[in-house]
């Protein structure tokens, strides 16, 4: 079985972010980039599937990023993935979510897969569209928000997280599954894993390799456009209630909550 995990490099969640006023794009070069934390769960799940299934199961990491995105690929390989493929091309810059899904789907067709695992979303754009969009491009089932995943013969079954509990959803493979944060506890790249990672193969793919239609990608192919951006204002100071006795204080808080229709 060939499991492919689609991952993304994102700006460090703790870093201060700035936007280029001309391009209206995030200044990615100024900040340290890390492996999208949500993707770590997908990698971990893939590795666990491999451990359970054994045999000739392999885990491939797929990413679309500028050259330096290779760092996040190395981390994933250090965690234990077998190999990686990376689409890197200047023409990709400015691509929106739909173009990203289109390119990832093309790359998946190119490298082959039985099961594609994704995080639910990236911490930078937080759209959460890519997993389902990839599936749509590939014409395979999308099973999203899995909090538990099981592979049975040539089928996959998940517990799909819903507000009131979970739904059991299953499909034949090939399929695309996005996994939630709670599904596992991602491992650290071990020291041996890190040292072993440099011997693992990273295949570089160009847009020509995967047969991408240039009109569908980059800024030109984007279906969405950033019109403007505004920094989040400093949060206003909260209301402070001063009360001489606890009862009075409780009353004030209660009135406040009622006024806000919180209770």
């Amino acid at each position: 079985m060939k499991i492919v995990v689609a991952v993304k490099q994102v700006p460090d969640t703790n870093a201060e972010k700035t936007f280029d006023p001309q391009t209206k794009r995030l200044n990615r070069s100024a900040i340290e980039n890390v492996l999208n934390p949500f993707d770590e769960y997908a990698i971990e799940e893939a590795l666990r599937c491999k451990e359970t299934l054994g045999g000739d199961t392999t885990v491939t990491i797929l990413t679309m990023a500028p050259q330096r995105g290779v760092d996040v690929v190395r981390k994933a390989l250090g965690m234990g993935a077998d190999n990686a493929a990376m689409i890197s091309d200047d023409a990709i810059g400015g691509s929106d979510t739909m173009a990203t899904a289109y390119l990832l789907a093309l790359a998946l067709k190119h490298i082959g897969f039985d099961l594609v695992l994704c995080g639910t979303q990236s911490t930078d754009a937080t759209n959460g569209i890519v997993p389902a969009a990839i599936a749509e491009h590939l014409r395979v089932p999308a099973l999203t928000y899995a909090k538990k995943l099981e592979i049975k013969a040539s089928a996959v079954e998940i517990q799909r997280e819903v507000e009131t509990g979970y739904a059991r959803v299953g499909s034949q493979l090939p399929a695309v599954v996005s996994v939630t944060k709670g599904i596992n506890e991602p491992r650290y790249p071990t020291l041996k894993g890190i040292m072993g990672a440099k011997k693992k193969e990273i295949t570089m793919l160009t847009l020509a390799d995967i047969g991408a239609d240039l009109a569908r990608i980059g800024e030109a192919g984007a279906k969405t456009q950033v019109e403007s951006f505004t920094p989040v204002g400093a949060r206003a100071r909260g209301e402070v209630f001063v009360a001489s006795d606890p009862k009075e204080g409780a009353r004030k808080i209660l009135d406040f909550l009622i006024a806000k229709k919180a209770i």
Binding site: K75, G78, Y188, T190, L191, K192, A197
Partner: protein, 389 residues
């Protein structure tokens, strides 16, 4: 300026795998070791679970070659790792240091292939722990003057004597023990290194020493009374033990310096954050030149220390002699770490003296750095000897 004309003969950039190693360990320390630092201090124990996580990470095999199950990262990789681990509390670095830097290192350096094949895999996996037994009550800095004896007795040697201040002596499974095989020859041919199973009859562990700091890491006496060690457990050759001890300590000194750099860098980060946040006289104290100068000195000293460590490690990995550099690294970085933590405490003021900030713990833990693995006075002797020979 024609920058392109300058020949590039130096490269200070870490390789991609070492960068990944560094960031992974930073995350590991922050998520797994920091949260339990206070618990380790209060209970004087590292929880079993944390040791298991360190084992899974592969930390116990850090400096050893891949053929025995080690990480195969070389001395530079080991120093980069220890620098990150130095950000955690000293209990963790001491456990690893006693095991990797000296305990198992002695065997890794001079042990026979048979000995390494037999013992290294379990040591690298962290399933077995090692310690280093050189110091004696009557032979600290004057290590050549040890009196623990090893007498040939058929196919074995019989060990008698007392080793003291042995880090991890209470929990280690094995020890590299240095004993006198020929009293007439002294350090020049009279001392032999033995790989000793500490569960051998005749080996007793003394009670835990009561220390100023380093809680969570224990030292104790190891007492040998007619403890039989098979002759095949000799590390290297009979009579070459003192050399093995010195070579081992050379390696240990670089990584010890790396730990100092990491802990000092962490103290600087904490001090910067505190200075920006602590308001006195209507302004953050970071606006005061007195505090700024302290920060500037701390950063400068850390910069010097880090570059010394990396250069020493680079020399070691290049296969060159690095005894003098190792001694310089040990001497400078330990004094630097002690000075930096003192300044960190000064910046933190009264809060730094309280247990909550972790600064007072670091302050107590730092003091030993100028003493163990060769006092800084001994380091100066080594440096001077190299200069004058």
């Amino acid at each position: 300026m024609a920058m392109t004309q300058v020949p590039q003969s130096l490269n200070f950039e870490l390789s991609d795998d070492l960068k990944l190693l560094k960031s992974s360990l930073r995350e590991f320390v922050e998520k797994e070791l920091w949260p339990i630092a206070e618990q380790v201090e209060e209970t004087d124990e590292i929880p079993r679970g944390a040791i298991d996580k360190m084992r899974e990470m592969g930390l116990f095999g850090l400096p050893f070659s891949e053929e025995y199950g080690g990480a195969g990262i070389g001395e530079l990789g080991y120093c980069v790792a220890l620098e990150e681990l130095g950000r955690a509390s000293a209990a963790f670095t001491n456990l690893l240091g006693a095991h990797c830097s000296i305990g198992a290192m002695a065997m890794h350096i001079d042990g026979s292939k048979e000995l390494k094949d037999r013992f290294m895999p379990a040591l690298c996996a962290g399933d077995k722990l090692a310690c280093f037994a050189l110091s004696e009550p009557g032979a600290g800095s004057d290590a050549a003057n040890i009196s623990t004896s090893a007498r040939r007795d058929g196919d074995a040697y019989s060990l008698n004597g007392v080793k003291h201040f042995i880090t991890s002596g209470d929990v280690a499974d094995y020890a590299s023990v240095f004993a006198v095989t020929d009293p007439k020859l002294g350090a020049r041919g009279g001392i032999t290194a033995f790989w000793v199973d500490l569960n051998t009859p005749g080996v007793t562990r003394g009670p835990k020493d009561r220390k100023m700091g380093l809680f969570g890491s224990h030292t104790c006496e190891l007492i040998f009374q007619d403890a039989k060690v098979p002759a095949e457990n000799i590390i290297g050759k009979v009579g070459f033990g003192f050399l093995t001890a010195m070579k081992t300590l050379d390696m240990g000194r670089l990584s010890l310096g790396a730990g100092c750099v990491g802990s000092a860098a962490f103290m600087l980060e904490k001090s910067i954050a505190y200075a920006k946040e602590r308001v006195q006289f209507g302004k953050p104290i970071a606006a005061k030149q007195a505090v700024q100068f302290m920060l500037a000195d701390m950063a400068t000293e850390i910069y010097a220390g880090r570059n010394m460590v990396y250069h020493g490690a680079w020399k070691a990995d290049s296969g060159e002699r690095f005894s003098m550099e190792a001694a310089m690294v040990k001497r400078y970085c330990s004094d630097m770490a002690i000075h930096v933590v003192d300044r960190a405490l000064q910046i933190h003021g009264g809060s730094g003296f309280m247990k909550e900030t972790g600064i007072e713990r670091a302050y107590r833990d730092a003091r030993i750095l100028a003493i163990y693995e060769g006092t800084n006075e001994i380091q100066r002797m080594i440096i001077a000897e190299e200069l004058l020979k």
